[in-house]
Symmetry: C2
Subunit: 231 residues, 2 copies
DNA sequence: TATCATTTATGATATATATCATAATATATA
DNA sequence: TATATATTATGATATATATCATAAATGATA
């Protein structure tokens, strides 16, 4: 946790979610006054299981993971949030404390808006309420969909899934640097670290991808998609 | 799909969710005019994947399952909804069509409220918007929590989980009739039907439960909870 | 730079789980 | 009621996956 200063203006913020599109200038000003932007270095903890929920958190830049620490000390990653995603699921409406922890997997900027203000806006601006829930619902639904996609597949299908996720939904490129370790991939898709490494090697030998450390290039996306489809 | 008639009044409805507590008499009347109650027999389909989303669905009575049919024709159960639950996840705010199918696993009464009315109420009544999202968020969060609970456990832990779920959260009794077949349990907790049967037999031999067809009695809940905890 | 810890890598083995086979019940249907 | 069909049940076997062992490569730290 490094700096902590208000650098941008909500009204003109280029990272602004379309969920805020129907807010008036005054309403945006209200958010702007009470928001905090924080920069986190890769690895920094943003919030921990059990912490009181005070803010609505919005990822401006970077990449963060939502995770839970099991009794066995093993971590389990629930989801990865990308820029413009709300982070922390819907718990903010049904819980007083965080159920999961959040940390940065890349240098990130998180925007914290006092939860009371968001709740007041929901009360006073019905159009915003709908826009906001449309957006937050789709994030939550996609977490559920992802969990099912992963559980109903076996190892090769899961690795294909995660590679396609990074390529299509996060980096929008067939060449990218894996932001997480093989161990974290394992924690995200419920398999052992060794098998993550093994399957990645298989994909390399099968000429589906090229690997060099964290650098991945998908060289046969059609076949990789087939691996994903077949499970 | 059998009868379809308006039998109760929202204002006095004993099945009313507390999410509706802050609605005025007029608002409840509005819902009452536009709602439909439908009775479904065990096994009946309530809605199918791909159907247009027109209503907000609320389970008055009975038990329903939310499921997806895989390409392999195998079904995968996402969640089971109990009375007073909203059914259909949050998709209603972020999708135009149902992503999953819903069917009755016990004789059920579902209350359909025109989605436009709910959306209008969210726009016009901020207190309702918050109550409503608080409730719907907790349903959605618990689906995510359940999926994680299941995936991070192995077979015995999963069966323990499902038995405790029925006992504690659905029937509130240590003796109950399983509303679903062993095959459906398998589809709910991602394991093979044979192994569901096998583990249930093991639990019987280990004197954790008594089984007679669909009738289950938990006779050593402490040890069953331990099996769940150990995964 | 040297030392230590972590990550990546691969093979061998153990374990968990699915699949196949078969049979007894139970349930639905003509 | 008789017949077909689905469900429950168990054992044997195959398969997927985790675990263990070891080593090289990489990164962190004193």
């Amino acid at each position: 946790m490094d700096s902590s200063n208000t650098i941008s203006n909500c009204k003109t913020c280029i990272y602004k979610s379309w969920a805020f599109k129907n807010l008036s200038e005054e309403e945006l000003k209200l958010i702007n006054c009470k928001k905090t932007e924080k920069f986190y270095r890769k690895g920094d903890i943003i919030c921990s299981e059990g912490d009181e929920i005070k803010s609505f958190m919005y990822l401006q830049n970077g990449l963060v993971k939502l995770f839970k620490t099991e009794i066995s000390k093993r971590e389990h990653i629930i989801s990865i949030a990308k820029p413009k995603d709300f982070i922390g699921l819907l718990s903010i409406f049904s819980n007083t404390n965080h159920v999961y922890s959040i940390s940065a997997i890349e240098d990130s900027v998180v925007c914290f808006v006092d939860l009371k203000i968001i709740k007041n806006l929901i009360k006073s601006n019905g159009i915003f309420a709908l826009d906001f829930f449309e957006r937050i619902s789709s994030v939550s639904d996609s977490v559920i969909k992802t969990r099912i996609d992963i559980n109903t597949r076996q190892l090769r299908g899961r690795i294909a899934y995660i590679l396609l996720l990074f390529s299509k939904h996060i980096y929008d490129s067939e060449k990218f640097n894996l932001p997480i370790s093989r161990k974290e991939i394992a924690e995200l898709i419920d398999m052992s670290t060794e098998n993550v490494i093994r399957v990645l090697s298989e994909f390399r030998k099968d000429k589906l991808i090229q690997i060099e450390g964290k650098s991945i290039e998908i060289i046969d996306i059609k076949r990789l998609e087939k691996v994903y489809d077949l499970g």
